[in-house]
């Protein structure tokens, strides 16, 4: 279970998160929506351990463990996965090597055996097939020259291979075509179960038609202003954020 209490964070001398309270029980998928610049990606980065942000108050735990004192790699090894809003290009690192390095690094940190090249390739190819990705993507350098949609699909491939306990998907739907959106949604739904939870950051109801969330939260101005069921997303789609923001003010 992800439990965030009173979380505040700065970048430089600017406060971005003004006290976030959020609980995602195991097995649930929660959506986070909110205006541009409201702090959604900041929240995602802080949970994943990006050092550019200074956490100034509050707590964040996963399955009872304090996340905020852990290195990003340790958080990943305990099962937290962030699908980046803007996936990073790694020239000179091929996708297969990257994925296997990541998977084996996590397994090592968890005290598990490493996967050999053959077992790994079998796993990666199977997941790529599910995501309708061509095999040659494994040979290409990570995200280099990938189209916007291909980058997002590559994030989902990583998620599928790494099998996290908590996935934070930061606008993974933006840039995807209609078919890809369905494929990606199926990829997420396939992981759903008691040992998996997700925080799905999105601007569009479209995605939530396919990944139906247990809860929807509105993040604006660095705070969660409202939470509700899936119907809240429909209301936002119809009326925008003005109402929610005014109501909270």
């Amino acid at each position: 279970m992800l439990e965030i209490k009173g979380l505040t964070a700065d970048i430089g001398d600017k406060t971005i998160l003004h006290g976030i309270d959020l609980v995602v029980p195991n097995g649930e998928v929660h959506a986070v929506m909110g205006p541009n610049g409201s702090g959604k990606s900041t929240l995602a980065y802080v949970l994943a351990g990006r050092e550019d942000y200074a956490v100034t108050g509050g707590t964040a735990t996963f399955d009872g463990q304090d996340l905020l004192t852990m290195d990003p790699e340790a958080r990943a090894a305990m099962g937290i996965f962030l699908a980046f809003q803007y996936p990073v290009e790694l020239p000179g690192v091929n996708n297969a090597n990257f994925l296997r390095t990541a998977l084996n690094a996590q397994r090592r940190l968890r005290g598990e055996d490493e996967l050999d090249a053959i077992k790994f390739l079998k796993l990666a190819r199977a997941e790529m097939k599910n995501l309708a990705m061509p095999d040659d993507m494994l040979k290409r350098n990570v995200n280099v020259g990938f189209s916007g949609g291909e980058k997002k699909r590559n994030e989902v491939l990583q998620m599928a291979v790494l099998r996290p306990k908590l996935a934070i998907l930061d606008e993974t739907d933006s840039g995807l075509d209609i078919d890809a959106l369905k494929i990606v949604a199926e990829g997420v739904n396939a992981l759903r179960g008691p040992g998996f939870s997700a925080l799905v950051i999105t601007h569009y109801q479209r995605l939530l038609d396919h990944i139906v969330p247990d809860r929807v939260h509105v993040l604006a101005g660095g705070r969660i202003l409202r939470s509700g069921g899936p119907e809240l997303a429909l209301e936002l789609e119809a009326n925008g954020y003005a109402g929610v923001v005014a109501e909270a003010a």
Binding site: A77, L90, T101, Q106
Partner: protein
């Protein structure tokens, strides 16, 4: 007291002249050429931070430690060199082996394809026509003291295949040694040859080779150099390449070793449509200093020169890249490109970069660029967020940077050999 005044005025010659005087009668080849070289060396001395001409070419690299050391001639090596040979890339190529600057037939292969002739400088001493001892002081030193070297020629239209040229230096019980090989490689029209040259050794030594390359019309020479000298050694190499019409000289230098290294290349594109690639990478740590200096002369129209140099610098190491492109008045449609990239892994590492363009033709495309940076924070975080520990993430990104450089080496066997050398470097120097 008067001695110290005198030494601050006279060029530093590091005791090499005394060696020449004592040894000149035994040295092979034209004695006049040697005597001229000795006069030049006496007048100009060792370059770099010391009295001597052409100080500008040695602005960033000082040979003071060379001047201060005292080098002796290598003793004739009787060792079987098994340890050194075991450190060579395992590429299964026919090899020509020099130990402490002298050819060792017993360690070398024979049976090269018809049309490839192999000899040595000791057997047929010929100083060639490209080297300029009057301008390059280290070349004057080499010309004065050269004893041996390889001579390879490939006949008209012959594909000479791939061979390995090996320069080994043996540890000589506390003696610092110096050797000055004189290599010559000639490809006749339409010939092809690929060379993997490896330099490695133990102990304190100065390896000061001069290489002359003549690539005749339509010929293709690929030359990959792996400089993996002892960390206590000096490697100061000067290479001249003359590239004729439609010919290609494709070179790559990987510098891993030596306390102080200089890879100096003078390439002249002398015929229409000639091509030269002077690519390289330097991986330095501790207080290593490595300098790549190139002068590319476009003397004919429609020639292309390409240089991409990548530096990975940690500790207090220092990398230097000086690249000069000269374009003659008649060299229209010249295409010149030069890029120097450096990854600084420590705040005390340093890169000096000096591009120079001297263009006298009006229809040319010449560009140069440089980037200096640390590892990319976004990339590091991306890897860590996927579970890759910081040290491993750093290593992976540095390897990626180098991999991109090594991609310039198209022969897979040779590229693998370079990759393996980088890996070995890595195991001994975790960053």
């Amino acid at each position: 007291m008067s001695a110290s005044v005198a030494s601050s005025r006279a060029p530093a010659t590091g005791g090499f002249l005394a060696r020449f005087e004592g040894f000149r009668a035994q040295l092979p080849g034209d004695p006049d050429r040697r005597a001229q070289a000795a006069d030049l060396f006496r007048a100009n001395g060792l370059p770099g931070g010391l009295p001597g001409r052409r100080a500008e070419a040695w602005k960033y690299t000082s040979l003071r430690p060379v001047a201060e050391a005292s080098f002796r001639e290598p003793l004739t090596a009787i060792a079987d060199c098994a340890g050194l040979l075991a450190r060579l890339p395992n590429v299964g190529l026919p090899r020509l082996v020099f130990v402490d600057g002298r050819y060792r037939g017993d360690l070398s292969a024979d049976g090269f394809p018809a049309g490839v002739s192999i000899s040595t400088f000791a057997r047929s001493p010929d100083f060639g026509a490209l080297a300029r001892p009057e301008r390059e002081n280290m070349v004057a030193l080499n010309t004065m003291l050269a004893e041996d070297g390889v001579r390879i020629s490939v006949a008209d239209g012959v594909d000479g295949g791939t061979l390995m040229l090996v320069n080994l230096a043996t540890e000589q019980s506390g003696r610092a040694t110096a050797f000055h090989p004189r290599h010559s490689i000639r490809l006749a029209s339409g010939a092809r040859l690929s060379i993997l040259e490896v330099s490695l050794g133990d102990g304190v030594y100065l390896h000061n080779p001069v290489t002359e390359l003549v690539v005749a019309a339509g010929a293709h020479l690929s030359h990959v150099r792996l400089q993996d000298e002892a960390r206590t050694a000096f490697h100061l190499s000067t290479l001249y390449a003359d590239i004729a019409e439609g010919a290609t000289y494709d070179s790559f230098a990987l510098n891993l070793g030596a306390r102080l290294a200089r890879t100096e290349i003078h390439a002249r594109l002398g015929g229409t449509g000639a091509t030269v690639h002077l690519n390289g990478a330097q991986l330095l740590t501790g207080s290593q200093h490595a300098d790549i200096t190139t002068v590319v002369r476009h003397d004919a129209p429609g020639c292309a020169s390409r240089q991409t140099i990548k530096n990975v610098l940690s500790g207090r190491s220092r990398g230097v890249f000086q690249g000069k492109i000269e374009v003659d008045r008649i060299a229209q449609k010249t295409d010149g490109y030069q890029m120097n990239q450096a990854l600084l892994l420590s705040p005390d590492a340093e890169i000096d970069c000096k591009p120079e363009l001297e263009i006298f033709a009006d229809d040319v495309k010449c560009s140069h660029g440089a980037t200096v940076g640390e590892l990319d924070r976004d990339q590091l975080f991306y890897l860590r967020a996927r579970g890759v520990p910081l040290a491993q993430a750093r290593a992976l990104l540095v390897r990626a940077f180098l991999t991109e450089a090594l991609d310039a080496v198209t022969d897979e066997t040779i590229r693998d050999a370079l990759e393996a050398a980088v890996s070995r470097w890595w195991e001994s120097e975790p960053l």
